[in-house]
């Protein structure tokens, strides 16, 4: 596909494109049931349960939705299964909109720290975010604080060349804290609008690695108190129920401000995002829908749910 053409497409079209596989499956299935069952009965609800569970929403959220539907059915005397689609949609949008983001203070310099387990797409997401922000006229500096994984620094460097932003990097194996320190000095000196920090992938149950993360925050607090620090957790849309534990444990170490949901262009439905935002009360900031530099879009609850159902 030629790039020019693709770039022109709006968020909605892109997300829809990315989610089309998801959507087709999900909606088709729901419609299938709706045709098969004219009445809302136990069998119908069980099939609905299957669809929701296979989206990785988890047992708890699914049962909540089923319970909600049952109540609505009773309250509003819904006896048409076709109404169900709208009910679920409404429920999901409400769930996402409960977590409206806080107004950010644009007068301050920003720091954005990206965290997550291994292989979720942190470095790629940073490349895309840097590109977006740069294009919106912000002065961006990127810090390559994943000094652990082989060639992570080179990977980020390549993204920064593509996005045409500055990068502060040291050698592989060096101290990530030192990289952050240098990056803060650079952000101050060059008066950047935002400093985006990559971090090494770490499993949330490795205490030492999580402690290392706390150390980075200490450095940020001490060296850059005037900046507004945001932390985004990256979650792979293919992740199952472990995503909730990941989010909880990362939230204990860092003050999480948002989620980035990646790899939504596959067949995974990313349903894990629902219990996560429900649990942590944080918004989804971006969704990743491909490997190209413009394949990351700001999240919009309505568009997201619409793209699933339309």
């Amino acid at each position: 596909m030629d790039k020019e053409n693709k770039e022109k497409k709006g968020f909605f079209a892109k997300l829809k494109e990315g989610l089309s596989k998801t959507k087709k499956n999900f909606t088709e299935q729901i419609e299938n049931i709706i045709f098969a069952h004219r009445k809302i009965d136990d069998e119908f609800l069980e099939e609905l349960e299957e669809i929701l569970i296979t989206s990785d929403m988890g047992v708890e959220t699914t049962l909540d939705i089923i319970e909600y539907i049952k109540q609505e059915v009773k309250k509003n005397k819904v006896d048409d299964t076709g109404e169900i689609k709208n009910l679920i949609k409404k429920y999901l949008v409400e769930m996402l909109e409960k977590h409206k983001e806080v107004e950010t203070d644009n007068t301050k310099q920003q720091v954005l720290l990206i965290v997550g387990v291994n292989g979720v797409g942190k470095t790629t997401s940073i490349g895309k975010i840097a590109y977006r922000l740069k294009n919106s006229g912000q002065k961006v500096i990127v810090a390559a604080a994943d000094t652990f994984r082989a060639a992570a620094v080179e990977q980020l460097k390549e993204w920064c060349i593509r996005a045409n932003v500055d990068i502060i990097a040291s050698e592989n194996g060096s101290d990530p804290g030192a990289v952050i320190f240098d990056a803060i000095q650079a952000a101050k000196a060059r008066k950047s609008d935002i400093l985006i920090c990559d971090t090494a992938g770490r499993l949330h149950n490795k205490k030492n690695l999580m402690n290392e993360l706390s150390k980075l925050f200490k450095i940020l607090d001490k060296e850059f108190p005037e900046a507004k620090i945001n932390v985004y957790l990256v979650i792979d849309a293919t992740t199952g129920q472990n995503g909730i534990i990941q989010a909880k444990l990362f939230a204990e170490t860092c003050q999480l401000d948002g989620l980035i949901l990646t790899k939504l262009d596959g067949t995974a439905k990313g349903g894990i995002a629902f219990p996560i935002i429900n649990e942590l009360n944080i918004p989804i900031k971006y969704v990743g829908v491909g490997e190209k530099i413009d394949d990351l879009q700001p999240f919009d609850a309505n568009d997201f749910v619409n793209a699933i159902f339309e």
Partner: protein
Amino acid sequence: MFENLSEKLQNTLQKLRGKGKLTEKDIEAAMKEVKMSLLEADVNYKVVKLFINNVKERSLGHDVMDSLTPGQQVVKIVHEELVKLMGEAESKLKFDPNNITYFMMCGLQGAGKTTATGKLAKKLKKDGKRPLLVAGDIYRPAAIKQLQVVGESVGVPVFEMGDKVSPVTIAKEAMKYALKHGNDVVIIDTAGRLHIDEELMDELVQIKETVKPTETLLLLDAMTGQDAVKVAETFNKYLEISGVILTKIDGDARGGAALSIRNVVDKPIKFVSTGEKLDQLEPFYPDRMASRILGMGDVLSIIEKAQNAFDEKQAVELEKKLRTNDFNLEDFLSQLQQMKNMGPLEDLLEMIPGVAGNKKLKDIKVDENQLKHTEAIIQSMTKKERMNPNIINGARRKRIAAGSGTSVQKVNQLLKQYDEMKKMMKKFSSMGKMGKKKGLGGLGGLGNFKMPF
């Protein structure tokens, strides 16, 4: 959420105590719990349904053994069925006896292909092979460089042609290269790709047709959710995979995906990848995975680790010393060192599921430095002092403190601990005469680990 299935079943089936047989209604209630538990472990919905039906049939009318509670009985059946489904034994890699053996690695983005490629190379090299790695990921920035770094650190050559040549051509050229340089195993790393990306899937098919690999391995993240089935199905449809490597198993995901893919594509899991270090690739044990999926923890792995680290002969000797109350600081030191062989204690704790997510347990922090200090103090003693700590007077304490870089207080503390330990052992040894236990010596507590069913 992380409540153990066996506990849950215990609660559901409490009323059953004393009943002779499991009735249909009991099973129905139990199966609801099993279903939830499996779904929470990310086993695919359809697989769960099938599985539950199997277990239902098996448990119906099953005698409740005297030794087990009905809940335990059901867990036992569930566990057995899970193990059966997961494949009975460990599955080994196949090699081409006459020609160069080719392995092809494939999977989604971020599954851990490049890291696993390095680990496999290290393992093969250790087994006396002459592996060659092939950099077939021309898409992700710095993927080639990553493989080169990994290759270098395990001392295995990497064949690359930059990122402008098609991976199929790279594979072709790699075959010539391997022939010329006498490599006997070639591992081809490929770019991560979505299973629905037809163009890229076709590229894999072409690579496969070119090199005709003995093993086509699918890399799958242990944290994968319901989608694992589709991923495995599609990769298998295109490539006829020969096995699976399950990665990031050192996290605390219960890994139900393993069961799902086994069920859908019926291919063995050949290895599990257990960490970021390049020697952390281990064989797959179906029974352990079954326990893990049920949320009962990889207790067997912990016990095995303990067994590996503890020298059996030393343990027996130590036990004798304990019994005769002849335990000195020299023994204490050797025990400390054995404990260190087991790897970081926190790693061991993490292998117990629920620890990371458990509020009470997660703050348990093992201070490895403390161990180091203790070791240093004992090492700063003379042989005589170690054998007979009673002779350590003030002057000696000062010397030991200086020698170990600690303080006199620390030395005092250690000696006090040693005294208390000895007292405790005296008590134990008098108790031990009644019920003598062999094996793990100082870490005897581990021998008490019981499987929770």
